[in-house]
C-alpha cells in the first residue's frame, strides 16, 4: 500500500490490523533501505538488520509527535534507522578502545605537525599558532572539554566518548562546541583571526 505522510501517521497511530500492517510495511522498507546501504556481509547480517530495525521502530513511534511533515515520512524514518544502525556499528568497532589510552599518547613519538610546508614564513606562523593552541588547550579548557575534544580529534565517535564518561552524544557535542569557542576566542585574543588561520593552514 502506498501511503502519504498523513496516512502513515494515521495508520501507525491506529490499532489492530491497520496498525499492524503499517508497522509491517515500515519494517520491510527500513530493512530494505539498510540492507541496500549498509550490507557488507561481515559486520552486518540479517540478525543485525532485524535488531536495528526493531530498535528504530520503537524510536520512530516514540517520536511520532515530533514529525512535522517537512519531508517524506519514510525519509524521516530512515534517518532515524540509519542513526540507530550506524551507532551500533560504531559501538562494536570501538568497544575495546580505551579512552584514556587514546588521549594520553604516552610513549608515542609525535608526528611533526608542520612538515611538508615549503614556505619558511608560513612554517614559522604555523609553529607559532600551534604553540598558542597547545597552551590554550591546557589553560582554557576544562578536563572534560579537553578529553572530549582530543578523543574527537582522534576519531572516537561521540557516542563512544559519551559511554566512557557517562554522558550522551548531545552533551559531548556541547562540550566540544564550548571547547572550540574557547580556543577560537583565545586565538583571537592574541591576534589570530579565522581568516589568518585558514590562510596559514590552507595547504
Amino acid at each position: 500500500m502506498k501511503r502519504d505522510n498523513e496516512l502513515w501517521l494515521t495508520h501507525l497511530k491506529s490499532e489492530g490490523a491497520i496498525q499492524h500492517q503499517a508497522l509491517s510495511d515500515l519494517r520491510d522498507t527500513l530493512i530494505n533501505s539498510l540492507r541496500g546501504t549498509l550490507w557488507n556481509g561481515a559486520l552486518i547480517d540479517d540478525a543485525f538488520l532485524e535488531d536495528a530495525v526493531q530498535d528504530s521502530i520503537i524510536r520512530i513511534l516514540e517520536r511520532l509527535k515530533q514529525f512535522e511533515g517537512r519531508s517524506q515520512f519514510l525519509t524521516w524514518a530512515t534517518s532515524i534507522s540509519i542513526r540507530v544502525a550506524i551507532s551500533e556499528l560504531r559501538r562494536r568497532r570501538w568497544k575495546d578502545v580505551s579512552l584514556d589510552k587514546l588521549i594520553s599518547d604516552a610513549g608515542q613519538v609525535p608526528e611533526r605537525a608542520i612538515d611538508a610546508c615549503p614556505e619558511p614564513d608560513v612554517l614559522k606562523e604555523r609553529e607559532a599558532i600551534i604553540k598558542v593552541m597547545y597552551g590554550l588547550i591546557h589553560s582554557s579548557l576544562t578536563e572534560k572539554q579537553k578529553t572530549a575534544l582530543l578523543a574527537e580529534l582522534k576519531e572516537m565517535p561521540q557516542d563512544e566518548i559519551a559511554r566512557h564518561i557517562g554522558s550522551n552524544r548531545n552533551a559531548i557535542y556541547k562540550l566540544t562546541h564550548d571547547a572550540r569557542k574557547r580556543l577560537k576566542k583565545g586565538l583571537e585574543a592574541v591576534g589570530y583571526n579565522i581568516t589568518d588561520i585558514k590562510a596559514i593552514f590552507a595547504n
Binding site: S33, G36, T37, L38, Q66, R70, S71, Q72, L74, T75, W76, T78, S79, I80, I82, R83, I86, R90, I103, D105, Q108, P110, E111, R112, A113, I114, D115, A116, I129, I130, M133, Y134, I137, H138, L149, L150, E152, L153, K154, E155, P157, Q158, D159, R169, N170, Y173, K174, H177, R180, K181, L183, K184, L187, I194, I197, K198, F201
Partner: protein, 78 residues
C-alpha cells in the same frame, strides 16, 4: 599530549568553522531528512536548514549518517 599533522589540521578546520550558536546532533536528526530531500532537488536551504548544513560540516558522525540517507533517497527515487 601530542597531535599529528592531520589532527592539528582537523582542529584548525573545526575552529575556523565554529559559530557561537550551533545545533546539536538531535536537532540535526530532526531536520536532516528535509535537508537531504531539498539538497537532492538542488534548491538552496532556508536559514533553519543552513544550521543543519553547518552542523554537517562540523560533525563527522552526522555527516556520515547524512551521506547514507542521501544514498537511500536516491535509491528510493530510482
Amino acid at each position: 599530549m601530542s597531535l599529528s599533522k592531520k589532527e592539528i589540521d582537523g582542529l584548525m578546520q573545526l575552529i575556523s568553522l565554529t559559530k557561537n550558536e550551533e545545533i546539536n546532533c538531535e536537532q540535526c536528526l530532526s531536520s536532516v531528512s528535509e535537508f537531504a530531500e531539498l539538497e537532492l532537488t538542488g534548491k538552496s536551504p532556508s536559514d533553519a536548514l543552513k544550521a543543519v548544513e553547518h552542523h554537517l560540516s562540523i560533525c563527522t558522525e552526522c555527516h556520515e549518517e547524512y551521506l547514507l540517507l542521501r544514498s537511500v533517497i536516491r535509491k528510493m527515487n530510482d
